[in-house]
């Protein structure tokens, strides 16, 4: 009887070490002063699921992650991680930020060991092991300032992984990387997630990244979830596949319609010219500010035809407008 209980405990413990956290969020509200950021958000995520969150900047994605990490408290509503409040699971939850947030005065390996306890030797061995998993074993004793942006994010990933998290929160961690490094990192994150089976929540502004990695894509709008779409593509997903591109353009279109509702960064104009091509076509729009060119998937053009001379609204993301001195 007694022995059975101990065994049961051990099994339970072993399982909880492997398994991801189960997330349940009901009616989550967060206010900063008079400003309400989350307006009764509901979200349920199964253990081991990979959920990608998209949404325009300022809609409350980071706030949601910070609440899940227990870094801040909710104003109302409830967060349950395996049935318990977020504060009870701080050890199981790790977060990766857009900037790697490495301590510049610590070497790579010391950064990874932050918050670990145990003998020096043992900590170093464990740190070297995770460092090898992210492909940076040979940079263990360097200063972070010597690494490239992608390498720094790898170190940040290793620092999170060494704690064997059951929930990994990723707040636009690849946003500042170049396209090639980004795809490499996506593959790395995916393969580690598969091995360790933690629950993963990835905030991204890159819809193709959301489609590449998410089991589900969730759209947050004004502090609520307004789209929750399962991604039924087999992994690993190729960016060129037709099903991939279809889903990507659907989510993008949904995002763009939200953006069109707001009055920022938009120019009214008339379609002046359409240059058709196999995959991507160009639509040139005459606006009071000059000609604006929009690259559109040819497929979505055939689904939603445009005519020359039609009145359109060109909207663009504020973080993709490049400024140069005039």
């Amino acid at each position: 009887m007694n022995i059975d209980n101990i065994e049961l405990d051990q099994v339970r413990q072993a399982r909880s070490e492997i398994q991801g956290l189960d997330i349940d969020v009901y009616g989550l509200i967060k206010r900063f002063g008079d400003r309400q950021v989350l307006h009764g958000l509901d979200l349920a995520i199964a253990p081991g699921e990979f959920v990608a969150i998209v949404g325009r900047s300022g809609c409350g994605k980071s706030t949601l992650l910070r609440l899940l990490a227990g870094l801040d408290g909710e104003s109302a509503g409830e967060i349950r991680l395996d049935g318990r409040p977020a504060a009870a699971h701080k050890e199981d939850v790790r977060m990766m930020f857009q900037d790697a947030r490495l301590l510049p005065w610590r070497t790579v390996i010391q950064n990874i060991a932050i918050g670990l306890t145990g003998s020096r030797q043992e900590v170093r061995e464990r740190a070297l092991e995770v460092l090898a998993r992210v492909g940076l074993a040979d940079r263990a004793d360097e200063w972070p300032a010597r690494l490239s942006g992608g390498q720094r994010q790898r170190v940040a990933l290793a620092r999170a992984l060494i704690h064997k998290p059951r929930l990994l929160l990723l707040d636009e961690p690849l946003g500042a990387l170049d396209a090639l490094t980004r795809i490499e990192m996506q593959r790395l994150i995916e393969s580690i997630w598969k091995q360790q089976q933690f629950t993963a929540l990835l905030v991204t502004h890159d819809v193709s990244e959301a489609v590449a990695l998410g089991d589900r894509i969730v759209l947050v709008e004004e502090g609520r979830i307004t789209l929750d779409e399962s991604v039924a593509l087999v992994r690993p997903r190729e960016h060129g596949e037709p099903a991939f591109a279809r889903l990507e353009s659907r989510v993008l279109k949904r995002l763009m319609t939200i953006e069109a509702v707001t009055s920022r960064n938009q120019i009214r104009g008339r379609v002046a010219d359409i240059v058709l091509d196999d995959v991507l076509s160009e639509v040139r729009i005459e606006t009071p500010a000059g000609v604006v060119t929009s690259t559109v998937l040819t497929r979505s053009l055939s689904e939603q035809p445009l005519e020359i001379g039609a009145e359109v609204l060109a909207t663009f993301k504020s973080n993709e407008v490049v400024l140069a001195a005039a």
Binding site: M95, L103, W105
Partner: protein, 275 residues
């Protein structure tokens, strides 16, 4: 074939020699002007253009130094001055560091103290000399007080700002990795504030010498300032000049020491390792 091989083989050491000269040249050229000034000065003094009452010849300064060193007097004065300076520095800098850490880390302490400290800061320490003499007389305490006061503010202000300007994103990261209290302080806040604290230390050292010189010139029973003021009475311009040179040397030494600290403690920062 052999003919062409020879000149090339000979050219290598020649090239190295030229490089060596170029290197030496670069090290030596900056010293040419000071050296020339010294020579002109020495010559002018010997020929009689410069009265030794105005400016003694450089060699006389060296001789005075040697003589005072031999009698042990020089070491005694230097020891007293340096001891005075560093005691004042330790008191003022230590208090500045402590209060800066407290006001930087705890809002309540900042609210209670910072306004007062900012008000006192606006008083130049040297303006307090008459008052300090009234309080402490002209003995050792007055000098230590003035030095400590001058050093205190530069260390205090820079420590306070150093703590306040630690990247909040790093603090948040540390918290999310389970650091709190002293471990958060040791891993993130102190190292983050360190470069600013060291700036305060360097400014403080500068202050320390200026105030030391003024305080010792006003009154002292020993120390470099006492030595020069004494020499002035007897028109020993060579000793006066020696005192000035000593102050300069000690100041330089303290600055070099502070730079070494920066290079050691901030070696992760590319700006400090390059030099």
């Amino acid at each position: 074939m052999a003919d062409t091989a020879f000149p090339i083989a000979g050219a290598v050491p020649g090239g190295r020699l030229a490089a060596l000269f170029r290197h030496l040249g670069r090290r030596l050229v900056p010293w040419l002007v000071p050296l020339a000034i010294l020579v002109v000065w020495e010559v002018a003094a010997r020929v009689g253009w410069l009265s030794s009452r105005v400016l003694p010849e450089p060699l006389a300064v060296v001789k005075a130094g040697v003589a005072l060193a031999a009698s042990g007097e020089l070491l005694q004065h230097v020891r007293v001055s340096a001891g005075r300076a560093f005691t004042g520095f330790a008191i003022g800098g230590g208090l500045g560091l402590l209060l800066g850490l407290l006001t930087g880390s705890f809002r309540k302490v900042e609210i209670a103290l910072d306004t007062t400290l900012q008000m006192i800061r606006n008083i130049p320490p040297l303006a307090l000399i008459p008052l300090v003499i009234l309080w402490f007389g002209i003995d050792e305490t007055a000098k230590l007080f003035l030095i400590a006061l001058g050093v205190f503010f530069s260390v205090y202000i820079n420590t306070f700002h150093g703590i306040r300007s630690v990247d909040p994103a790093l603090i948040e990261m540390g918290r999310s990795y389970g650091l709190k209290g002293w471990s958060l302080y040791r891993e993130i806040i102190l190292p983050g504030a360190l470069s600013s604290i060291l700036v305060g230390v360097r400014y403080g050292l500068g202050f320390m010498w200026v105030i030391l010189i003024v305080a010792e010139t006003i009154s002292a029973q020993a120390g470099i300032g006492y030595m020069t003021m004494n020499a002035r009475e007897f028109l020993q311009t060579d000793v006066v000049l020696l005192g000035i040179v000593l102050y300069a040397l000690l100041g330089k030494l303290a600055d070099v020491a502070a730079r070494q600290l920066e290079r050691r403690w901030l070696k992760w920062n590319a700006a400090y390792t390059a030099a």
